[in-house]
Symmetry: D2
Subunit: 353 residues, 4 copies
């Protein structure tokens, strides 16, 4: 039986969906609506998202999951000889089973620090290296930049960083695409200065993550650059991303974008993440990297980890050395205050100082 | 506003899910379970399906939709130089936006009659044509056969037909794969003599359709041939078919395969389909093809169609000539008896005889 | 030992290259030139081809063979959701081992008669069918038209036919691409009214076949539409089509396009083809289709075929029935007058009348 | 005019082919032979190569170039979810315009030193990392190893190194594939202890480079592992690698593998390479890496480079810093002794000591 009996900090997708979503699903279950995402709930959700983006011109599509969203966007954005720049630790480079290569394109990795970010100057350098090479036709052409917000390691790009990335992309005719699997946690994080409207201004496309931010399933792709709008629905269908009962996702985003629910539930998770981070520092634990969002990465002494693991579920991140392991502690909309307090107490008991 | 105000016969995916499914989703919503389909509900559902298949050795995977299921199976079953034989009207040839070609493979169409079936002798002939050709390396190699049950046109392969197809495939080292988007309607149809256990005996893989048979989303892929088991999960992930909250689909199949629900709801839809077919014949309408399942195809006089369309929603199939149109009339688990009766009465009023 | 001891009519690629080509290869063998097709001979050949095209703006690339040329052009011309219309008997549909599908695209076959041609109205109809379909995103989008000149069956599109095809393509925003593996035989054929300049005016791209028209290896791709120029060399390299010693092909086209050699040698072959056709008709043989070029297709009584095959090599085309076989009789620049006379005499001896 | 007027050290593919090859091409030009590589010259060449390999069971195919050879082998050796391990500087990772990704597969780069080699322990580590990862289905599966002999930087794997690589590959069920674009220069290099027979014993497949070792065009793929034999010709055709006049390449390998010509001409080039290396060291030039073959990499002071470049052609490799540039000096079968002596004298004149 793998219903979890331990206290859950392994991920932000172990639970069902927020109760407001479940309520509307239940209420509307027996209604007949047009299939393939042309239903009223999807339409309402699109309108709500456009409003939050302060942009009526974007196209919004409801897709199934992160890997597929990335694959669909990049498949249509890249020509056969082009690749996409991304952090070496980027999800498309490491954790999508080669989905981008499966559509024929090379992921062009850039070095990154523990925070998982890449910089405008790295992008500029990569562009120059390619386009000043006499043998450029022997080398995959960089056509765009992929970043994730929050990054794989819970960091959040600032408005300044994003603006710089956007600028170099515009200068060099590269697209800028944001994987927002955990965008809610970024938007809600303390100190964040980036809005959805900023993303519309600075990027060519991004997706607003649902699955990891309170929905049962689904992501909302926002396409800003008109060049990427026309053919998009064909590619969605071709990649198996068009749901017959498309309202399943539309309806959820309608709920999430009503009364600020999306931000509210993510903020709560971020606050709990930060509370854990504070305690970790206070009790002398080594943080693997700085994070202001719902994912915290900590280097555990294996003995301590063993003790804590009797009661809590964390996610394995990587082995540091023979006696230490990096683990992810993850909160979500469904994390309970009492569980946080319990964890903090146990961190105190096993204090490293 | 596209919530339908007409009586719905356009498709079998306009409504939500069966209420028993909704009940369990609601009840389990706040439970924490392991992600990526390794939860207890998915495990239970797999066990129930294996039991119904009378086969403990098959592998069962829960996937998102039909196009993706077909693409995933064929991507791993075909080598780069191979293609798949299918009816010219087959879904993969006509309605999946080139998903099979997108993974590098040619669909090799065979002629078919109005029922959408292909025969063992056609497969044998195609095999011989390829493998006796001196220039065979210039031609795509047929590696397997795709059929759908029910077919695109609502027909059901008999046990004899399936056995013959299976035999030629085994003889010629071709795989046999069944697209079961509407498998429930086939299994429940009057006169059907094929069981899930037969499919396990006669095919290499098939999927049991959920989306069009009472679920909110999801299909259950059953892999029989061990050769196709090992790598399957990698391809699922690569194609974006691995749900973080995989229990969403597992849970639904658990309900559908409890107390015979899957067959019961499809039988009801089939019976209503047959009732419509009977009335159509009785009142002199021309049937486009014979169907014993939940989809009926009728050639309407455009004037009559216009009148009926004020009250009912059908699906456009094709234009027959300037004054006639082929329409699909579709029933499902959610079709109401009273709506059937109303339709029949209106068919009578506009009687063709 | 498979050096042929019979008289060769099986194909137009059994011999080496025209002696003028061999001469220049020998003479220049020890010169050092820049690699990857940036040598002086390739430059000269491009200039000669542009001159013959009466068009300085086209781009010319030297590629290795027909299958690769088609694959490279279509790979860059088609977006992921698009396919290419072609005759059901077209080379890309039947004889390239799925090379187009391997790059992710569906070949969209159109019915054709024995001559292997398709018409403007067929293209128009296919376009309308797609773009007026409510479910068009479920269906591969036609983006262009592939034809071959001569066709697979030796027929030649007239200027009128090409102009009509070009017109519908321009109207519907489809590209028109011509596979010219045997373009020389078309240009040189009696009654032909299409020039290279016409092809530049009417198509988006075409290639001038070398391998089957006197060269040792190589085809010259002419790209007219600026949209397809920029990225072309990247795709050539990616598909393995960029020769380190690129001059090998450039040099050959320099010779072929000097002093009208290309047309002259093809004309001779056409004339011999027509001489054979005349004799076939005169002596009562059934022609499989009409051809005015170097390939003739004849339905042989198997007994007669057996006798002729003791002395001559033809190419098997298809089995007609139990007692008849369709064979191709092919001439080329290297066919000898005496061999033609010998064949005609033997056709006479085995006369069908 | 880009016929080179300077003394040529830029590459080993600036000239035509060895005169013995040209002789046989000329002599056989007007013979008729079977097309598509089924001619007598290709058969003879295969027999000669098998003999040199001391292995009658290998399959030999004549292909067009290096990028295509790699793409064809890896396309058929890799399943859709698999990738190939290679040195970060490997040709398939850096200089083939994404040809491997174009067929759907990720290149999995391993760190390497200046010599461009990877080690058995790196391969072992990569295998363990993948197969002990709980989330391995989210990650591209390593299925084989690509190395080049000589490496990109002119280094030669020793028998010991190759044996270790082979052992770990066999243990872990990985294939070992060798890109032999410059295999002749490796086999002929001073101190080399690896034979073609060793390669047959230790690898699954490798190709013997022709283009850069005296041929006009062409590489000979040797397939050892029976698993990779059956489908190979289909993939060759699909990738556009099947020449109608296939004898063009077969004939050249027949000459190269007669009377030890292949090794003899490469040995001469290696010796000249080593002579240059010796002088570079003697005159105080900084070598970029150690090479015992025909490619030498040297860090030039830009002023010196400018002077030398008035008389000699080298290949740009990379910019080291503002005042230094790494250049490749390349010899081949066609390099003249007098040109080597001239270069050495000029290196002396511009001596760094």
């Amino acid at each position: 039986m793998n219903k979890s009996t331990k206290i859950e900090f392994a991920s932000d997708y172990q639970c069902g969906c927020h109760e407001e979503i479940m309520k509307l699903m239940l209420k509307t279950n027996l209604e007949n609506t047009t299939g393939y995402g042309e239903d009223c709930y999807s339409e309402e959700a699109k309108a709500l998202i456009k409003k939050e983006c302060k942009n009526e011109d974007v196209d919004v599509y409801f897709l199934i999951g992160g890997t597929q969203s990335n694959a669909i966007f990049l498949k249509q954005a890249l020509k056969p000889h082009q690749g996409v720049l991304c952090a070496r630790t980027g999800h498309i480079n490491c954790h999508e089973a080669g989905a981008i290569e499966a559509s024929g394109h090379k992921v062009l990795p850039l070095a990154c620090k523990g925070d998982g970010k890449i910089t405008a100057s790295q992008v500029e350098k990569a562009w120059i290296e390619h386009f000043t090479d006499d043998n450029q036709i022997h080398i995959v052409q960089p056509a765009g930049v992929y970043i994730s917000q929050t990054t794989e390691n819970g960091a959040v790009y600032s408005l300044k960083e994003l603006t710089e990335l956007s600028q170099v992309c515009k200068n060099r005719n590269l697209f800028l695409y944001v994987d927002g699997a955990r965008l809610g946690y970024a938007l809600a994080s303390k100190g964040n200065d980036v809005t959805l409207a900023d993303l519309c201004r600075l990027t060519d496309a991004f997706y607003i993550g649902g699955t990891k931010c309170g929905a049962l399933i689904g992501e909302a792709m926002v396409i800003v650059n008109p060049e990427f709008k026309k053919d998009f629905p064909y590619i969605v269908k071709q990649q198996g991303g068009l749901l017959a009962k498309g309202r399943l996702i539309g309806l959820q985003f309608k709920v999430l974008f009503t009364d600020n629910l999306y931000i509210d539930i993510c903020r709560k998770a971020d606050e709990m993440g930060n509370k854990i981070a504070l305690s970790l520092k206070k009790f002398g634990y080594e943080l693997y990297c700085d994070s202001i969002s719902n994912q915290q990465f900590v280097v555990f002494d294996n003995e301590v980890l063993k003790k804590l693991s009797e009661k809590y579920l964390f996610a394995f991140w990587e082995k540091k050395d023979e006696t230490h392991t990096v683990m992810r502690i993850c909160t979500s909309w469904s994390t309970k205050e009492e569980d946080i307090n319990s964890l903090i107490e146990d961190l105190r008991i096993n204090s490293m100082v």
